[in-house]
Subunit: 222 residues, 2 copies
DNA sequence: TATTGTATGTTTGATTTCCAACAAGGAGAA
DNA sequence: TTCTCCTTGTTGGAAATCAAACATACAATA
């Protein structure tokens, strides 16, 4: 297990924990390591699971198939990423499958063990639970924000919603965003070209100025 | 506190707990009750908080203001609903405000107390933590689903994505949905009229039949 | 039965977005 | 410098969506 500490140290679940504490917890929740060859299934849609997975080496793909058999890759989990925690925590039927992208090593953590204080009342357990709740609620905040922006009907409103929230979040009318144009368009679920055009309009109307990923909003048209 | 047990029994956080267990937990996490008159703030955007709120009587509004002062009501919390748990759990700056809609009574729960096993090692605590994680991860699953559907570019693809997932979830090509047409359109972020038209097309193409909120999908065109 | 209200389907012109291609500008490499 | 490559901005025709009507069907009620 020790060989993977360099990975585990940087996992949000284990934030703020020392190496020996991590090892103690892994032991206390009876964590197991499995090896999966490329293209083999780790979770299959329709299953339930009480363990979550954490990629120690290799990578996995989260895929979803619709009724007509169209296969859709939802995301890729690289070393240090975890998956299945939502279904494990909720005892829900998986509507996604997880397959090894290449030969991979996966750490399996039983979520019920994680959530139960261990017999020896292991003190780091509380930290872990706190981290878990933090990770989950942070994810909800991120998703909520995205939905707030993307549910606006026009490209213009999506842009203004996003830029306004970034400005408020960063506490300044002048701020950088973490996206280039293509990424911003993908995030807002619009066409890059249409978005660029809309940005130009907003500039002409004096609502903002922008250079690359730097934006400045104006409260009133100049 | 006892007078509110009828409310608390039905809150997902307290699912599976008996009345006396609920009372024990409230005591053990040092829960407090506050009264708020109509239109007064409970949380203000920009604040941080380590407590979450639960509506015992009355109701609250979750509101958000953008940079230009446009006020947007995001949701309403009725008796038994809770709010602020995401920010409390994550120690995040609030980007929403919560105001009392009418004169209201609010139960404040300190999330750090909830997440720490109490000195007396109160056994119901584990159940509570488990419930909390369940509630959060379930919410993520719901949001993920919505984003999956709404991020499709056309009304047709949004419909098919949603209907396919519902069909798979309910394990049948013949199923009911919990929305009427207007609600479905709102959920998918499209126009009701355009959606109705698209449904008609899909019918003509033999991909599905529908009556009201009942749908039957066809794997191949008839 | 007649009346009313509600949900759903249809239509149409205006508007917006999509798609594809190209243009402009800058950064880095040869 | 010159030549790429990459990002961003611009444009025009095709396609989709929006908004606002109106039509239809059905249920509930008197």
């Amino acid at each position: 297990m020790k060989e993977y500490l360099t990975v585990l140290r940087n996992v949000p679940f284990f934030k703020g924990l020392e190496d020996d504490e991590i090892l103690a917890i892994l032991h206390c929740v009876n964590a197991t390591i499995i090896s999966k060859s490329a293209n083999s299934y780790i979770f299959k849609a329709g299953d339930t699971t009480d363990v979550m997975g954490l990629v120690l080496s290799g990578s996995t793909l989260i895929i979803q198939e619709d009724l007509w058999g169209h296969r859709n890759i939802l995301s890729k989990c690289n070393v240090g990423d975890f998956f299945g925690e939502l279904y494990a925590a909720n005892n829900a039927v998986l509507n996604i499958s997880v397959v090894a992208n290449v030969d991979s090593t996966i750490l399996l953590l039983n979520i019920n063990h994680l959530l139960s204080t261990c017999p020896s009342s292991c003190i780091h357990h509380q930290r872990l639970i706190h981290n878990l709740v933090g990770v989950l609620s942070n994810k909800i905040l991120i998703l909520n924000n995205k939905i707030t922006h993307t549910s606006k009907r026009t490209t213009r409103d999506k842009l203004l919603s996003y830029l306004s929230s970034e400005s408020i979040r960063q506490g300044s009318l002048s701020f950088d965003i973490p996206f280039d144009r293509q990424q911003l368009a993908d995030y807002l679920c619009v066409e890059r070209a249409a978005m660029s055009a809309e940005l130009s309009k907003l500039k002409k109307e004096g609502l903002l100025t922008t250079y690359r990923n730097h934006f400045e909003l104006k409260k009133k048209a100049v």
